[in-house]
């Protein structure tokens, strides 16, 4: 939501093959695509006339975007490390704080509510163009999918993304990971 305006987001992840997030608002659509070999941003509202290639450094930093399982599952095999850094308050809830350092160097600190073990907040530190950036995300409205997986249907980082529908293990056409302007 932006001033009450709805922004539509469609997100597709094929595990270790690619991810695409399509954003539509104000009559325009754009996307971010990651694949193991290339990535693109196309944001017409920012003046992009064609897809802009993502730098190799940024691609490496964001390779976890293609990890449909999330980096915590089999983190060791994926080359990540995890450290418990104690309890910390998030919005009045005293949480377990877990620091994940990904193989790429990206650091994500998760805040886990001890009453239900939900991740309720994360802080991600990434490096882009040589500069460290910090982004914060909240997770809520957890729902259990028919497959037995609990997912947060609301994901917020300033504005809240409300997930309407989740489909798992559906075929994905590789063409969605190819950049286009129409």
């Amino acid at each position: 939501m932006f001033n009450g305006t709805e922004v539509n987001v469609e997100s597709i992840t094929a595990h270790d093959k690619g991810s695409r997030q399509t954003i539509t608002f104000g009559g325009l659509s754009g996307y971010t695509i990651y694949t193991p070999s290339a990535g693109y941003n196309f944001y017409p509202w920012q003046g992009h006339l064609k897809p802009e290639a993502i730098t190799p450094e940024e691609l490496k930093e964001n390779e976890d975007n293609m990890d449909a399982q999330g980096p915590l599952i089999d983190y060791k095999e994926k080359g990540h490390t995890i450290e418990y850094v104690g309890m910390d308050d998030f919005e009045g809830t005293d949480c377990y704080k877990i620091k994940l350092t990904e193989k790429s160097g990206k650091i994500i600190t998760y805040y886990i509510d001890p009453s239900n073990y939900f991740i309720i907040h994360s802080v991600t530190i990434t490096k882009a163009n040589g500069q460290e950036n910090e982004s914060k995300t909240d997770y809520s409205n957890y729902q259990k999918l028919p497959e037995g997986i609990w997912l947060p249907m609301n994901i917020g980082g300033g504005n809240t993304v409300k997930i309407k529908k989740v489909e798992i293990n559906v075929p994905v056409d590789d063409s969605v990971f190819k950049p286009s302007t129409n």
Binding site: S19, A68, D113, S115
Partner: protein, 1027 residues
């Protein structure tokens, strides 16, 4: 779909039973403080270290604001230490691994107001997380040095406690990265370690200076035989004292440094009976005195920083009262110029980028500066909101202004809200010196009373800042007047015309300080032994009024009776008069009976506004080495006292504040935290509502019109918790409910009280404004993680006008509805974002309903919206016309969107079939239709714009132009705006006619052509997507 959350979510959930909800800061959820700063004067800086490898990662330690980190050389900072002690003495980054950072708490600039630390901390992730690693009772740490060749070896210089003797001082060494410590240099219970340096070429060579010092509440001593200069050749196992060429002992504080590129070269400033600058070129074995200006050797106890360029052994820096530098090894010095602006005096921290020695950072009593020319000129860092306020007051303006005085930074006023946010430039300096009390005159909005140290008070015209001296003078055979460093100036709580000042006598003026009346005898103990400030300082005389004693420190007139006035002194007297000063009653023995030591500073007094006989007071005994929290209440005019107790309390107490509306709601500010109770002092909790856990709180006030809690911190500027009404009304019944939606007071429909400020600020600290629209408030007993939370607004007819995603945090939640509907659906496609999609019309006044949906449960309250009766420029009729016009344009957008959608669907069908039809005539027919539709579509919205700087305006954009203007402002539409609406409606009608004509012309033929080839011609389905 994404993903990352899968791991932790499987499993059963513990069923939680909440029988009784304990009220604490999380109960008040979103009731969070705004940090006003400002950054314009900043505050005292005590430590700076930087990452040599990148030259842009800087850690700044402050006297009372914790640690701040910049990763961009100082353009912006973030606080890193808000859960720990706010007073920082030293910071050191491991040169081999810059992720490892040590922090020593408790600054060592041993002024009268210096705070107290609680040991050493270590971070292994560049400051994100910290672990306490010992030396807890050292109270003050002046330097941390890490062996450049072995990161596990760390030295910590601890001067130790200032206000008491003790063994918890000296030079400490760890050989396991801070896990364990060994005291390797110790003199006696009065002398600690002031400075330490390590020879980078041979880390077994250590230099250290010891320092004997002590403060009493009424004097300071720097110097004694415990002070000395020492050297070890074996990593601190054995030491020898360096004396050859140094002056005769006793010494005071010694600041010294060595040249990293030629480590046998040392310079030292040795405080003694003949304080001087000394140079050694043989590793301290022999010393030679150099001539030095007053700045080089001034106030050694307060200016203990000296440094040599890492690459150039001849370049010596002495940041002190001013900034001096030498190019010849310390034989001569020059001072920094003011070409880059004034460089604040009183310097305590310094860092040279070893990889670019032109780049320097210095920490002063007024913030951080950096230099790019080896210290000749300096640039101020404007984004550190670490001011050390002593007191705060507010006026009655809308928005109200705050007033306060700061350590070495004068007296200031600034707004509680300002267009575009409260930037540094919104603040105004109104009085010089160190600042303390600033009292706006409640009867005259142009006047405030301000002071500098020792009672130098002025009546200030706030507009012009012209001042008139109003300090009461001693007359006749009176004793010399004794004014505290932080002398009280207080206006009457009952009679707003009364103005009080206290020396050892209490003075009252009823004409803005033009004439004064003494209304008391000497109210202090008048102990002559505590009045020998001329002898204060030790080896270096230091008599700045900071040690003045046997003075009045707090004054309070009862809000219920102007004849009932309380005063507290710095030597333990607490007295009151019930007859306007004719007679006085000393109740100090009575509070002692409650367990509060006598002789304490009576740091604040709060006569109740509900009951004349009730009074609260805080007592500060830290100057006798006692850090306990003393806060008490009497309900019989001081005859008996109840000492409040809580396991939550930390730090000596500065301020007790009673709420204006709820007598059971109290706030307490201490040296280590802000506390509150909602049950009259039975249970206290630490307020952590976006407030550092151990923030130093010196003063608290409540603005009566807005119900804001305003906190003066001594290191984090001013903090405001907007509208504490929920703290007053949160009953036991409410907190035990899972969800509670509060009643809404009638709200004035408004787009806000302030504009956006016109242009973005170019830097510095910017504080957010108070919300100018009252929020809808609800309480959640626990965070809602399962199920959605939404707030829905229904208009008087019952129609849903807006749905707002709810916040889900535990405690009070605040959601602001901007009185606007959902924006229109605008025509999609084209080549630019249409901002019409972001503008929604404001609703009209009336009786609305708010519905809070939490999971499958609903909670409903009414919400009455009214037009602002005070706004003559925008009457209810104006608003109705604006609304009607906005809605006409809103509907025009939606109609246009439907037309464009219809065209786009048809075009999609044509495109798909053009490729499929085989007959060339049919193909041409479809192509012609497609072209005609595109010709029409391109008149309806921008389809060709290739750059955000090449503006293309078609019907959609034209509608938005006038729609955004009319709906986005609070004014009736102009005559031309109204005419323009008609014109655009006509334009749309013509377009729609064209579309109908084309349909009639082409659709039957296209249907036939497609049918011939067996292709479907329907274009229903989901709307075509632009991409």
């Amino acid at each position: 779909m994404r993903k990352i959350f899968l791991t932790l979510l499987v499993g059963s959930f513990a069923t939680q039973i909440f029988s009784q909800v304990k009220i604490n800061s999380s109960t008040f959820g979103k009731m969070e403080a705004r940090w006003l700063g400002p950054g314009t004067m900043s505050g005292r800086i005590t430590a700076i270290d930087g990452v040599a490898g990148d030259g842009k990662t800087i850690y700044v330690g402050t006297a009372g604001g914790g640690i701040w980190k910049s990763t961009n050389g100082g353009a912006s900072f973030k606080p890193l230490f808000d859960k720990y002690c706010m007073s920082i003495g030293a910071i050191a980054i491991d040169p081999k691994n810059p992720k490892i950072v040590y922090a020593g708490t408790g600054e060592s600039n041993m002024r009268n107001t210096v705070s107290i630390g609680n040991g050493m901390y270590r971070s292994t992730d560049a400051g994100e997380n910290w672990v306490k690693i010992g030396l807890d009772s050292t109270e003050h740490i002046s330097k941390i040095v890490i062996d450049p060749k072995n990161s596990n070896t760390v030295y910590v210089a601890a001067p130790g406690p200032l206000w008491s003797d003790g063994t918890q001082r000296g030079l400490f060494k760890s050989t396991d990265g801070g896990q364990t410590w060994k005291k390797i240099l110790y003199i006696n219970e009065k002398a600690g370690c002031a400075d330490v340096a390590i020879d980078p070429s041979n880390p077994d060579v250590i230099y250290a200076s010891t320092w004997e010092f002590r403060r009493l509440p009424y004097s300071f001593n720097s110097g004694g035989n415990g002070s000395g200069m020492y050297k070890s050749l074996d990593g601190g196992k054995t030491w020898k004292e360096l004396t050859n060429g140094l002056p005769k002992k006793p010494f005071g504080r010694i600041a010294f440094t060595l040249a990293p590129s030629a480590p046998n070269n040392l310079v030292a400033i040795v405080e003694s009976n003949e304080t001087g600058l000394f140079i050694s070129s043989d590793g301290g074995e022999t010393w030679k005195q150099q001539s030095a200006t007053a700045n080089i050797v001034a106030r050694p106890f307060y200016f203990s920083t000296i440094a040599i360029d890492p690459k150039d052994p001849k370049r010596v820096y002495r940041p002190a009262f001013t900034f001096s530098y030498s190019n010849d090894g310390g034989y001569s010095f020059a001072d920094a110029n003011n070409d880059g602006g004034w460089l604040h005096s009183d310097m305590h921290a310094f860092w040279i980028n070893p990889n670019n020695t032109n780049q320097l950072y210095v920490g002063t009593d007024g913030g951080v500066y950096y230099s790019l020319d080896r210290g000749a000129t300096w640039i101020f860092v404007q984004s550190l909101p670490v001011g050390q306020f002593y007191h705060v007051r507010t006026d009655n303006a809308e928005p109200y202004n705050v007033y306060g005085g700061l350590q070495d930074n004068g007296s200031w006023t600034g707004p509680s809200s300002s267009p575009g946010g409260i930037g540094n430039n919104a603040w105004k300096a109104i009085y010089g010196g160190d600042g303390f009390w600033v009292q706006p005159d409640p009867t005259d909005p142009n006047v405030a009373y301000a002071e500098s140290q020792g009672g130098e008070a002025g009546r200030v015209n706030v507009l012009t800042t012209k001042t008139v001296n109003i300090k009461p003078q001693e007359v006749g055979t009176q004793d010399k007047l004794r004014w505290n460093w932080n002398s009280p100036i207080v206006t009457g709580a009952k009679n707003k015309k009364n103005l009080y000042m206290g020396a050892q006598y209490l003075y009252r003026s009823t004409d803005q300080g033009r004439n004064w009346q003494r209304i008391s005898p000497d109210l202090t103990t008048n102990d002559k032994k505590k009045q020998q400030q001329e002898n204060s300082g030790g080896l270096s005389a230091d008599n700045t009024s900071a040690e003045n004693h046997c003075t009045i420190f707090s004054i309070a007139e009862s809000p219920l009776d102007e004849n009932l006035v309380w005063i507290g002194t710095d030597d333990g007297n607490l007295q009151c008069t019930t007859d306007g000063g004719k007679t006085w009653m000393n109740v100090s023995k009575n509070y002692s009976a409650a367990g509060i030591p006598s002789q304490t500073w009576v740091s604040s007094i709060e006569p109740s506004s509900f009951d004349k006989k009730t009074v609260y007071a805080t007592f500060d005994n830290h100057m006798y080495g006692d850090h306990r929290t003393y806060v008490a209440r009497s309900t019989d005019l001081g005859k008996t006292w109840k000492l409040f107790k809580s396991s939550e309390f930390t730090g000596f107490a500065h301020k007790i504040k009673e709420d204006l509306k709820n007598k059971d709601l109290l706030f307490l500010g201490t040296e280590r935290g802000l506390f509150a109770t909602v049950d009259g002092g039975e249970n206290w909790f630490r307020m952590k509502n976006h407030i550092p856990d151990y923030v130093m709180v010196r003063d608290i006030t409540i603005q009566p019109a807005t119900n804001d809690l305003i906190v003066a911190t001594h290191g984090r500027g001013i903090m405001i918790v907007d509208d504490i009404t929920p703290m007053r009304s949160l009953t036991k019944n409410i907190v035990d409910q899972d969800v509670y939606l509060f009643d809404n007071k009638p709200m004035v429909v408004t787009a806000g009280k302030l504009g956006g400020g016109g242009f973005p600020t170019t830097g510095g600290w910017i504080a957010p404004n108070a919300p100018s629209i009252p929020p809808v408030q609800y309480y959640l007993k626990e965070r809602v993680s399962i199920g959605d939370v939404n707030l829905e607004i229904y208009d008087p007819s019952g129609k849903l006008v807006r749905s707002i995603p709810g916040t889900i945090r535990k405690g009070i939640n605040k959601l602001t509805w901007d009185f606007r509907m959902k924006p229109p659906k605008v025509a999609s496609g084209g080549t630019k974002v249409d901002f019409g999609a972001f503008v929604a019309p404001m609703v009209l006044p009336g009786d609305y309903t708010v519905k809070l949906k939490v999971g499958d449960k609903e909670y409903t309250k009414t919400l009455k919206l009214v037009n602002d009766p005070k706004d003559k420029d925008f009457t209810l009729q104006d608003r109705q016309l604006q609304h009607k016009t906005s809605m006409e344009l809103y509907h025009l957008h939606e109609r246009l969107a439907a037309t464009v959608d219809s065209i786009s669907l048809k075009q999609k069908m044509l495109r798909e079939n053009i490729a499929k039809v085989k007959d060339s005539a049919s193909k041409k027919l479809l192509q012609d239709y497609l072209t005609k539709l595109e010709d029409l579509r391109s008149t309806l919205l921008a389809t060709k714009q290739k750059s955000i700087f090449a503006d293309e305006k078609k019907l959609r954009e034209e509608i938005t132009d006038v729609y955004a203007a009319v709906a986005g402002q609070e004014a009736p539409p102009s005559n031309l705006q109204l005419q323009r609406v008609t014109q655009l409606q006509e334009k749309f009608t013509k377009a729609e006619e064209t579309r109908t004509t084309l349909s009639k012309q082409f659709n039957p033929k296209v249907d036939v052509a497609l049918a011939k080839e067996g292709l479907p011609s329907k274009d229903e389905g989901k709307p075509a997507k632009a991409f």
